[in-house]
């Protein structure tokens, strides 16, 4: 069980790093949202799953599960609000010229 938790912790660190690297490298607001917010979602999700695996079956796991569900519901909504605002403002998405 603890090995699975270690794997999920490493995944969490990996996605957090790439997410924030993307925030620095990406060209415009939409691609920044893609890389930062959604990769960071996966990283937080991995860390919460690892916490659940470490604590086994206990009331603590239930509480972490409740936090996970709440996080999964609220985070896409926050991302969507930022993206929608940018879209309604008329910001043209960046395109790579091939």
């Amino acid at each position: 069980m603890s090995w699975a938790a270690v794997i999920f912790f490493i995944l969490g660190v990996f996605f957090a790093l790439t997410g924030h690297l993307g925030l620095l490298k990406a060209p415009d607001v939409y691609t920044r949202l893609q890389t930062s917010s959604t990769c960071s979602t996966t990283s937080v999700l991995s860390i919460l799953i690892a916490c659940m695996l470490l604590s086994g079956i206990s009331p603590f796991t239930g509480k972490v599960a409740a936090i996970t569900i709440f996080f999964i519901i609220t985070n896409p909504v926050a991302t969507h609000i930022i993206a929608r605002y940018a879209w309604e403002e008329g910001i043209v998405p960046w395109r790579r010229h091939q």
């Binding site: 996605f15 893609q34 959604t38 990769c39 395109r95």
Partner: protein, 170 residues
């Protein structure tokens, strides 16, 4: 007893049930005092907010009571897709290879809750963000667009989400 009164009572009862489930989830205790207080406050809040929680014209039975076993299956599918797409996005970021496009497509889901869930799932999956959702029309920003054709893009992005959600809600 008019039908609108009956519908209001049904909505109050359903809202109370949902609120009470939330209370149980967060308190995690089965002491009679806590249960009584939770039920009382759930009912009070339901009396004032049932109009917001369940819309007047959302009368289909399936939109109010989802099929829970399909919902669980859907959650597992979303988790799997999130991880697969995260790896793709992570490597696209590391190598700097992304070709973003904006695509438009329609969804066949009818109820409001199913539509908002599919928009949320598309945003949660890395590589795609829902920019706008009006009626059944979705505008999606796609990080690695392989096509801009409306129907094909819709099939790739929605994938099996839509089929499963049709079984959970409508």
């Amino acid at each position: 007893m008019t039908s609108s009164f009956k519908w209001a009572v049904t909505r109050i009862i359903l809202t109370t049930i949902y609120l009470f489930a939330g209370w149980l989830l967060f308190t995690g205790s089965t002491a009679p005092r806590s249960l009584l207080m939770g039920a009382g406050f759930s009912f009070l809040i339901a009396l004032t907010t049932f109009k917001l929680f369940i819309d007047d014209d959302e009368a289909a039975r399936r939109t109010l009571l989802p099929r829970v076993h399909w919902l669980l299956f859907y959650a597992i599918l979303v988790f799997y897709k999130v991880y697969v797409a995260s790896f793709q996005t992570a490597f696209a970021v590391l190598w700097g290879k992304y070709y973003p496009r904006v695509v438009h497509f329609r969804t066949r889901l009818n109820s409001d809750i199913a539509r908002s869930v599919i928009a949320g799932s598309i945003t949660l999956t890395p590589g795609t963000i829902t920019l706008e959702l009006t009626e059944d029309h979705l505008v999606v920003h796609w990080l690695n667009a392989s096509t801009t054709h409306s129907r094909f893009a819709g099939n790739i992005i929605k994938g099996s989400f839509e089929k499963l959600l049709k079984r959970v809600w409508v």
